[in-house]
Symmetry: C2
Subunit: 644 residues, 2 copies
């Protein structure tokens, strides 16, 4: 921020007001952490519940997930792919993976990162090579209308390189990737559900992004003075995918939630200390859930009350505690929550955001109406918006909902999912100690991270299926060497008791996911030539077109042949090869590989793709169809002849 | 071949001797091909069978594949990954994918193609970047002992760039990759099962590789004169992974099979015409199954009867028809089989190789004892080794076995698996028209390619499970846009009738696979420091070690911290970062990402990995653990500070 002095909050330990029990550093180090299953269920266990989960087989439902051959699943799941940098599309309840959508990393099946079209979306260096080939996708969420998914878009983030990508849910492809400026460790994302000002805009137009790591701003100085480091909260336009604005904050951002009325977004902060070492990050007694007043922020931007940082032209408003002391003008409000929270989730009734404690055995329920009251000067202290803070068990991380008033929270250390009733928790917190808010517990295998239920964070939450992403599988699958899969478990939550239905091994390490009914999306299964400016609509347009050393090769495919039997090049030519698949039959995809030239990509029905390369090796190169298409698929080839 | 004149076989149409029915070009173009389901079952249907398969639900077995949560599968499957260039490890009968082993292509989870160790295996260009980032893996087979799998190694090929890779089945990792010289379109592979000469060597020491595309030798001339093009059959040493020898042949190689006594290998040839266009490849009336006399070839190499090609030092012997007319000295023998065969498989009783016809509705059974007789001058014509050539249905491709005398062949055009009895087929061929060799038929969905049964091509074939890789899934799964998954189906073959148990969607496009009992392998789940020369055995060895601009950073990981809290570099440093995971708990893997530096990799328990990069961007870069390890995983970081 140009000429702006960056200050850290003073005495973070004193900021928190409530002081409930939390897990002390000593207690934490005494626990069996990491891969060792925690069996010490006494500490921090909720008072009104006993462990209901018995052995896995005892809870196994025999039916439900077992879709017969030829039957279709009834729900879709969109899963972040983890380090593969893609999005996974599952059918549920079977848990079958139907598609991986390449996003941030190259994908050698599709030719993602190979074709000119995909390289343009992914981003390249000046020499034309890909800017990045690694990613760490964490969270995925889809666009809303009227409080439910509308099937237009989904988004997924890359934590390593601070990128956000959009997936079109008509073709199930990534069409835009944006790298956030001034952000490192971009973690949580959530689309808004409505406009904060215009009630006619009852659908997603913004995506909010949490920046986790504090860095120098701009980050071009190798300083170890961490008092100069800061984090950012970012708003991206859902349509243009351009960055609209950023908010400079105290502390950091982890996950993100948004309200149904569009007025509020929030991020949980596990490091209000802005510590550089993990013990510093645990030093404060409480952390925060940071609320953003979206309407006011946009008004401030419109009024020019912003700065810019380094080369970035993105407006940055000031969301620090110091600059937002007056509730009536504040852009932000910091609600105190138990230490190192992980996860903030919006209940489907629109009333609450729930923060899970991670290092505290509690969940904190924050009433949104009271947060709005605070911004209007009607609530004396922002922490009065907390309507419950109840113990659930050890290591609470994320919360899902069933639409029947119940919440489901993963307990990382306890290796459990706890089902609890939000209204009962509020009553208990208000003093009614007879309110039994814990409804059920189920052991999961092992150390669960995210969980999500069908339509959980929508107004259409239907309480049917719950998926749990367990970070350790240990002994649940056949051994395959040192790298274990994770274990994603499917749970039936339609009854009073949770029922474990299936274990699914999964390649590390997907994080978040959403589950929705299959009628939400209407995918198209064949492309249109109009989607591709380079489309070759007639095989007669095929040929080799030379302008000096620049050569364009135009080809079409129709099983079992390419339109050119061979094409001749000269060593040193800069070749752009364009291939249109003229086959119109659903599922009739062709591939195109050039041996030794590191080229392989597919063209789906009616799709066009292009590659550009230097013909630097003389010889004969049989370009062949790599995607089984026909009884004469093996015979489907064209010869690239490069003359010396 | 230096100074050797390359001649194509004369008049390939006249080579074939038997002239049974085959599918004419006209009939082929009249059929509904490709993605359109073929319903014309009358043409070429086997005389003694009616279609037994009804609708999918009618054949669905309700149990068997549905492993309860917490139960282990009883079989492993090793699957070629297709364009993802990896090997998939499945648990069966559930069909769950437990691991993907990165091989030919980069893998951003493991850091394959990112770490120095993996780049060395994959192969780099002079500038240090990867030579290839695309692949097309087709076939996978494992090492043998006493005619059964011994759990040492598996191999997989890359067709695009003619590479063969070995997988260690103790750690389930790839440890060697070899690029074959003088070969384009490397397709089939098969390990030998014994030495042809030394009976004490009753295990795999060679892997045979089929070269599919004919090219100029050496391939450095861009000529369109295809009379100069030739194909090669290659032998790779199973231990050193060096190429032992090659055989120059007439025609091309497709799939490969090996005999149990080690004396014979064979490849089916679909293009004895050596045609460049698909209609030329179909012009001969029969093609061939080409046998190699392994002992004689190695004796010829030992005797110096070979040439070399171009820069390659690999001995090349002459396996052409012209040079091998005398059976008593011949290195090769060309058995005539119906046109465009696809697939050659060895029966578990050790007696037969079976070629499937693809464009002919037949399978050809070749008796190995008779082939050996031919090489000893005891059989007048090599085609007398054919003991059956029977009709099965349209588009036969690959054959598996149950150890009870039955073969199972995929019918690509009929979308069926046909179960047939080999002895009955031989009787039928010998004239006993009452011999009913077709036992059962099952519709599969749709257009099956490879299939394989548990221990199928071993002496331990147990006839329990059959997996079928269907190339088109069409309507079998929820729609996910233009790119459909393939459909891998699990079939119970333990009874008289085949029973379809499950549909599994799979990312395109795996080809081949093997299935074996879980006790065959004994995977290790923790590495040893001795496996890694760079291992840092004590956190005290950590630090930044500078020699001019070359800097070595040594780090260890133990949840939830790296041994260095930060490390400082100067802009322009060439940095080698070495990380050893000191955690010993099974499944406790850490990741290491450097934002904006395109670095991400994992270290499994007790593993060491290193990366080398130029510190070209000043600033603060939070290197964080990307693999969930601990309740304080999010807090597990180290700071890389690059001073300008």
């Amino acid at each position: 921020m140009k000429d702006q002095e960056i200050k850290k909050p003073q005495n973070p330990e004193t900021i928190g007001q409530g002081r409930r029990q939390f897990m002390s550093r000593a207690a934490l180090s005494g626990l069996a952490l990491g891969a060792v299953a925690c069996t010490d269920k006494g500490v921090g266990a909720a008072p009104a519940a006993s462990a209901a989960g018995s052995g896995p087989a005892g809870n196994a439902a025999e039916s439900g997930v077992h879709i017969k051959p030829g039957e279709l699943d009834t729900y879709y799941g969109l899963w972040s792919g983890g380090h593969t940098g893609d999005m996974r599309v599952l059918g549920l309840p079977s848990g079958r993976e139907i598609l991986r959508i390449p996003v941030f990393n190259p994908d050698a099946l599709v030719g993602w990162g190979i074709t000119n079209e995909s390289k343009k979306i992914m981003g390249t260096k000046p020499d034309g090579s890909l800017r990045y080939t690694v990613a760490d996708t964490h969270h995925t969420h889809a666009s809303y209308k009227d409080g439910n998914y509308d099937g237009r878009y989904a988004w997924v983030n890359d934590k390593i390189n601070s990128r956000i990508a959009r997936i079109r849910l008509d073709y199930f492809v990534c069409d835009k990737i944006t790298e956030l400026p001034n952000v490192q460790g971009f973690h949580g994302i959530f689309p808004d559900k409505a406009d904060p000002v215009d009630p006619k805009i009852n659908y997603t137009t913004r995506v909010f992004c949490g920046g986790e790591f504090a860095i120098p701003l701009p980050n071009n100085v190798g300083t170890d003075d961490d008092s100069k480091y800061r984090s950012m909260f970012t708003c991206v336009d859902a349509e243009t995918m351009e960055v609209r604005w950023q908010v400079l904050i105290d502390g950091n951002c982890d996950l993100v939630a948004t309200s149904y009325d569009g007025k509020l977004a929030a991020t949980n902060q596990y490091n209000i200390e802005m510590g550089a070492h993990y013990e510093d990050m645990m030093s404060a007694e409480r952390d925060a859930c940071l609320f953003f007043n979206v309407g006011r922020i946009e008004a401030a931007v419109k009024a020019g009350k912003f700065k810019t940082i380094g080369d970035s032209k993105v407006p940055v408003v000031d969301g620090t505690r110091e600059a937002n002391k007056d509730p009536k003008t504040a852009l932000t409000a910091y609600v105190s929550v138990p230490k190192n929270p992980h996860g903030v989730n919006a209940s489907p009734d629109g009333k609450y955001f729930i923060c899970a404690g991670k290092l505290s055995p509690t969940a904190t329920v924050i009433e949104l109406a009271k947060v709005l009251d605070y911004f209007e000067g009607k609530l004396a202290e922002i922490d009065k918006a907390i309507v419950a803070e109840v113990e659930l068990g050890l290591g609470p991380l994320h919360t899902a909902f069933d639409g029947r008033g119940n919440a489901y929270t993963t307990l990382f250390l306890d290796s459990q999912v706890v089902k609890w009733n939000v209204d009962a928790a509020i009553k208990f917190h208000a003093g009614d100690k007879s309110a039994k808010y814990v409804v059920d517990r189920l052991d999961v295998q092992y150390q669960p991270g995210h969980l999500n239920a069908s339509h959980s964070e929508t107004k259409a939450a239907d309480g049917k299926y719950l998926a749990v992403g367990c970070k350790f599988s240990k002994d649940r699958f056949l051994p395959v060497g040192p790298l274990h899969p994770e274990n994603e478990q499917m749970i039936d939550i339609s009854g009073d008791k949770m029922k474990l239905m299936a274990d699914h091994p999964v390649r590390g390490e997907p994080h978040d996911f959403i589950i929705f009914k299959r009628d939400i999306v209407k995918p198209k299964q064949i492309y249109s030539h109009d989607d591709f400016p380079l489309a070759i609509r007639d095989p007669k347009e095929s040929g080799v077109f030379r302008q000096g050393k620049k050569v364009t090769v135009k080809l079409t495919s129709q099983a079992p042949a390419f339109s050119l039997r061979e094409f001749k090049l000269k060593k040193g030519d800069e070749v752009t090869l364009i291939l249109t698949n003229l086959d119109k039959v659903e599922d009739l995809t062709h591939g195109f590989a050039i041996p030794k030239y590191n080229v392989n990509f597919i063209v789906n029905p009616q799709e066009t793709a292009s590659v550009t390369f230097i013909a630097d090796k003389p010889g004969v190169f049989w370009c062949y169809c790599t995607h089984f298409c026909h009884a004469l698929h093996l015979e489907m080839r064209t010869r690239m002849i490069v003359e010396a």
